[in-house]
Homo-oligomer: 401 residues x 2
């Protein structure tokens, strides 16, 4: 019985460094919710033998294989042929797959070239699955008491095809076992690990720490999971923003603002728009986010946000005073109820002894309250920018509590 | 003789979906420049046997293995022990590694707990490599006429350790073979593939197409590479922004503006700050980028950018007129020489029959010229936002030519 999934990601572009794979992360989350954890992943080139070997090596009675990539109409698209070879099957023109392709080509106003119909040749015994957002059907091949699913690597297509293919393979979503998540902001992984040691022992759990810049997720399972997560929340307070596994800090802030009918504006310097981008990644953000200013230069800080020249001269662009004036300014010009501001030194240049790379001031502001924080962040430019974004959002979350 | 690299990425968080791996893409690029292409990658859990097996299966006389992750001081960090087990070696306390750890702990103002010193136990015969930006040393183990390198998975640390470890392993950077890159914007991969077929045949090359939202990179190698890339540039014109493999559209635009001493401001609606974030990811962007406005709501479009209420009522927020007024407005309030603006429907909601999801207007503006473009983009919310960002930048690139 299939209890696990192995992923095989096909594509030269994934190994040449040109393309960043997003399927691994997305699939892992969805499949965990379906009770089918991903236990391994392989990345292989567009070479049929390597694809075949990887599929064969990954498949077992307990482990089904999902393959992404190499499903298009070009000569580089070799996954389906490799799948057939892996199990010594013939490729057969499927009239069902052909209909699916015709339908999508027609929908997109495209003709029906020979190359498109190549995608209707599938291994004997395989079932095609209609692709909601592209041409190439997904393929489900029952084999050896298990199954292999193949789908295009294009993220929007693989995301849309995953669940239909699993259902065709006979899989239904399952209730997750007792797992608890505690999602935190602004704490460093190693500090967190050390500070939660005694609570781990007390509750007899082994938590997993899953870091990203400015955020650490803690995942625990088993009998002590509930108790541990309660203890952690009590200990960490407002550094915990949610216990929902997929709820982001941006979403949590959005819900709070929607509930209270309040709005937010942002003023960013070194983060350059990362915060507003993250906020607007959430569908429906327009219900609470009005917009912001990326005041990258001092002139813009002064001209648009009204930061005083004196302030910049006396305290510098990266200072508590400038951060507060940026936050006040964007609130004023947008009329938003809340605002946040970030100004800092992302590096690699620009650091001084007094203010080294990683020095960041954040500020949050409402009509009643103003708070500023100084942070000293590590890592490279992108880590500092993302870490600063998370901390600015976190201080707003604190204010909203 | 080692001619290829296999990557082994260790970490439950990579397979649970919590963390997105960035090492694969970064390493693939650097290693290709060193003449050592990455030919496979595996992602495994923090389970010693799985790590050991993956390392053993990947290693050969020709294929060296680089392992990232699982190098920290916690109980979940099992890579070094797994490496020792894989080759039946003892773990030995290395005084050199211990010195490295002491030095870094001191530099970061940390104590020297027992857990930190665990990282000084390395397989017999392995060489420690000082970690410039973290605590755990890298490890280089010569074995079976090949080698295994292990380093922390944290991206800033792995990026800093890669080259020092390769050098300790006896590898020197090599001159790349005849490879040409043509990086394009705003063209769809399948259209590009079809339209370049005859040039491929003419030059006797098999180009690889490496897409990301709004951008497609074309890579060719061999004798016909030069001729092909010239032909492609002639055919595609301003849709080609560079032939340098790692030069981004943002960097190209930045260089042009720096050369001419001109500046840029941005006005974003649906892209929410993605464009300014991409621009400011480039160190030194302050030399040509002054900042921008994220005018997510219509009120902000009117209040800050001066878009006319009439315009919004008559043509709507997603229209040529609104895009042009946004671009003009941000130029006016910032004093920048050039500006670009984007307004569109990123989805999944908000589409109508007249303006379906994916409808995007971009505009670019200088004191002399104004141009607006209508795009119909596909994919999910993030694809549409990133695709819109690339096209806005591309139309600015065109204007700057």
């Amino acid at each position: 019985m299939v209890t696990e999934i192995a992923l095989v990601l096909v594509g030269d572009e994934l190994l040449s460094g040109r393309t960043r794979d997003v399927n691994l992360q997305r699939f892992s989350r969805v499949l965990a919710d379906w009770g089918l954890p991903v236990t391994s992943a392989s990345v292989v080139r567009d070479i049929p033998l390597e694809i075949s070997i990887s599929i064969r090596n990954s498949l077992s009675k307990n482990t089904a294989v999902i393959v992404t990539g190499g499903m298009g109409p070009t000569e580089d698209d070799l996954t389906v042929a490799a799948l057939a070879t892996a199990f010594n099957l013939d490729l057969i023109r499927s009239s069902l797959a052909e209909d699916m392709i015709r339908t999508k080509q027609h929908e997109y106003g495209l003709g029906l070239p020979e190359s498109a119909l190549k995608q209707a040749d599938i291994p004997e015994g395989a079932l095609p699955v209609m692709n909601p957002v592209g041409i190439a059907p997904g393929i489900v091949l029952p084999v050896s008491g298990s199954f292999v699913i193949c789908m295009p690597g294009v993220p929007s297509e693989s995301a849309a095809l995953l669940e239909p293919c699993l259902r065709v393979a006979g899989i239904e979503p399952m209730q997750g076992k007792q797992i608890r998540f505690v999602r935190t902001w602004g704490l460093k992984e190693n500090n967190l690990f050390d500070s939660l040691k005694s609570l781990s022992l007390k509750n007899k759990v082994i938590p997993a720490f899953l870091p990203s810049p400015g955020r650490v997720d803690i995942k625990v399972s088993g009998a002590g999971a509930n108790g541990f997560s309660h203890d952690v929340i009590e200990k960490l307070g407002n550094r915990v923003y949610t216990t929902e596994r997929d709820e982001t800090l941006e979403e949590v802030i959005g819900k709070k603002l929607i509930e209270s009918g309040l709005s937010l504006a942002t003023a960013e310097s070194c983060t350059g728009g990362s915060i507003s981008r993250g906020i607007t990644a959430v569908p429906g953000a327009s219900r609470w986010f009005v917009g912001g200013v990326v005041s990258y230069s001092n002139e813009i800080k002064m001209q648009i946000l009204g930061v005083k020249k004196q302030t910049l001269e006396e305290y510098g662009a990266v200072s508590e005073q400038t951060a507060l004036e940026m936050a006040r300014g964007v609130r004023r010009i947008t009329g938003a109820d809340f605002s946040l501001a970030v100004t800092g030194i992302a590096g690699p240049d620009g650091g001084t002894e007094e203010k080294p790379v990683g020095t960041v001031w954040t500020a949050v502001c409402s009509d009643k309250v103003e708070k500023a924080h100084l942070w000293r962040l590590g890592g490279d430019r992108e880590s500092i920018r993302d870490g600063a974004s998370a901390r600015a959002l976190g201080t707003l979350f604190e204010l909203l509590q």
